[in-house]
Amino acid sequence: MSTLPSKREETLGGYIVHGIPFPVDTDPDSLAFLKKMAPILIEQEYKITYLHSYAQDSPWFAGLANRHLLASQRPDGGYTYANPRGHDMYTGEETRWIDITDVPAHVHAFTVCYFGSEEFLPETPFVLALIEFEGVDTLLLTRLMGVDPAVPSLDWIGMQVEPHFIRNSKLKPTDVYFSPKE
């Protein structure tokens, strides 16, 4: 049985308070005493929904929704980006789309996240990996599945992997993930 943490996790939230301690009279002594008052802390909520456009990168997400992994390539067939990119950073030329779904790929770098940002905490532990594709000049950040997060190993680097696509697209880069090639 594992030991409980030594500290309880701090969380916000609590009771609604009516009435804040304050001197009954605002005589000079009472006003001077206010310099010793502890600060008031209140909760402020901030929530907003953005209408975010994937703009010229939209075909990449449409590709994932249809089980295709696209990449961006300079029109001369040269420099190729695993991430979508509308224009080549070296020539300034507009890129074209190519399909790299079946291109051999392997793990370039990885980590196992046992903690994460608030949004991803419920998914921990998860494995982040940078994938290297044959003939592609840059990498792709993705989730790596099918490995044991309890026993990470540098041997995972170089491991051949293959893409998988979720059936119900969320139009997010996590619509594709990778696992060891069978």
């Binding site: 770098a109 980590t111 046992y114 982040l128 680097i157």
Partner: protein
């Protein structure tokens, strides 16, 4: 460009949380300290200062847009010119350099650079989420946005490629925490061992909680002047510490936001465009790098920071430095992670690419005369993060680069004892030091060199 002197600075106590004061009042702690250290009163300095640059990273943390003008107002600097700079973790370093530009260009004679961050207004994991918004929100963040995860991926590549070990990384944590033990401004004052670091909770393999800096509330301020500005302040009664500290080198570099997009250059491109002058001039080093490339190394990939190398090379050239390890007495660098301190040793040319891990455990970056409880094979050559760095001092983002500047000023003035009430962190006879500020996964990096005159 005319000479610029960094004559004074102040740092608020860095803490997990500062609910006792608004961010403006925390900045004023640092600001007043810098003014008082000149022996001036608030009103006299306010009359003479020409303007300011404000440094803070995130509008999300304080949920306040235009916080800079609120600080300008609180400090009594209106209607003098001022503006805010923002560049992620490098915000403070950029701010320092913008203040330098204002003075060097002749636009101002006296410029104050101040910075802050209040990261305590949200819970830690929400804070991590905010920071992760400094990654591409279409392609990186949704995959599992988490900076410790991004850095951990760089580490695994560095380990695989160069044989760097977690124990070498832990040496950085032990060094910086024990240095901070003697720094009263630091947030964490603990003595740890390599085993403590490795036994700490694993955050993102192989980085443990003690490999990673903490979130902080805090502020820092520095005052930069021209020779004319110095005369004005002294005519008004300022007691400016001699010898003066002059800013002699400025460098900046950038790289792609998505670290996956970074290039993997061949040997010739690396040697031609990125190698230091020292590396280019050494047959042995060229052969060493040729062997690395023959074994598959490419540059910068995700194991190195091209922006840091670019900033370093630019600053060294400006300051006339050809051998940073032996020509700098100390470096305050951006150790958000123990691994990034190791990567930065290499970027700055304190050692060669691939040798950062060995360098970390060698003793060369440690302070002499301090007991670290480690068996260090070599003597100190260039103290790195004598203050304790971000890992132990804390990392209130907008203040961090300016905190480094303040500690560097005090080192070069020889006044560490006066400010720390302890001289164990004073680098003996420090003549030249560098500060290094770093954003994102190496997107913006600044390096500034400061030297003691005379």
């Amino acid at each position: 460009m005319r000479p610029v002197y960094a004559i004074s600075g102040g740092v608020s106590k860095f803490a997990k949380t500062r609910p006792d004061k608004t961010f403006q009042a925390v900045i004023k702690e640092a600001y007043d300290y810098a003014i008082n250290d000149l022996g001036l009163d608030f009103e006299t300095f306010t009359r003479l200062v020409d303007g300011s640059v404000a440094s803070y990273f995130s509008d999300h943390f304080s949920r306040q847009l235009m916080a800079g003008i609120m600080a300008q107002d609180y400090l009594g600097l209106c209607p003098k010119p001022g503006h805010r700079v923002e560049g992620g973790g490098a915000t403070g370093g950029l701010c320092f350099q913008e203040a330098w530009k204002s003075v060097a260009s002749g636009h101002m004679d006296i410029c104050v650079a101040y910075g802050f961050e209040t990261m305590s207004h949200v819970e830690t994991w929400k804070g991590n989420e905010f920071i992760a918004l400094a990654s591409d929100i279409s392609f990186d963040y949704p995959v599992g946005g988490f900076y410790s995860g991004y850095y951990a991926m760089m580490v695994t590549r560095h380990m695989k490629e160069f044989g760097t070990t977690v124990e070498q990384m832990a040496h950085v944590s032990v060094k910086n925490h024990i240095n901070a033990y003697y720094n009263p401004y630091s947030q964490k004052r603990n003595r740890y061992t390599v085993q403590d670091v490795r036994n700490a909770p694993m955050v993102a393999w192989p980085l443990t909680r003690l490999d990673i800096c903490v979130m902080s509330d805090g502020a820092a301020a520095t005052i930069l002047v021209s020779e004319e500005g110095l005369k004005k302040l002294e005519a008004a009664g300022a007691k400016v510490t001699r010898p003066l500290v002059r800013v002699t080198g400025i460098g900046r570099g950038t790289d792609a936001m998505r670290m996956a997009d970074r290039p993997h250059f061949d040997y010739d491109t690396f040697m031609g465009d990125y190698a230091t002058e020292q590396e280019k001039s050494s047959d042995e080093t060229r052969a060493y790098y040729k062997r690395l490339w023959d074994h598959g190394t490419r540059y910068p990939g995700v194991h190195s920071f091209r922006a840091g190398r670019t900033a370093g090379n630019m600053a060294w050239k400006h300051a006339g430095i050809s051998d940073p390890l032996n020509e700098l007495d100390f470096v305050e660098l951006h150790d958000a992670y123990t691994s990034s301190e190791i990567q930065t040793y290499e970027d700055l040319g304190l050692c060669r690419y691939g040798e950062g891990g060995e360098f970390a455990a060698s003793g060369k970056a440690f302070m002499p005369g301090i007991d670290y409880g480690l068996d260090l094979p070599e003597k100190s050559a260039c103290a790195v993060n004598p203050s304790g760095g971000l890992i132990a001092c804390g990392h209130p983002v907008g203040a961090t680069g300016l905190m480094q500047a303040v500690f560097a000023i005090w080192q070069l003035q020889g006044t560490v004892k006066k400010h720390f009430n302890d001289d164990r962190l004073q680098v003996r006879d420090a003549k030249r030091g560098a500060i290094h500020s770093h954003a994102g996964t190496g997107t913006y990096v600044t390096v500034s060199v400061m030297e003691r005159e005379g």
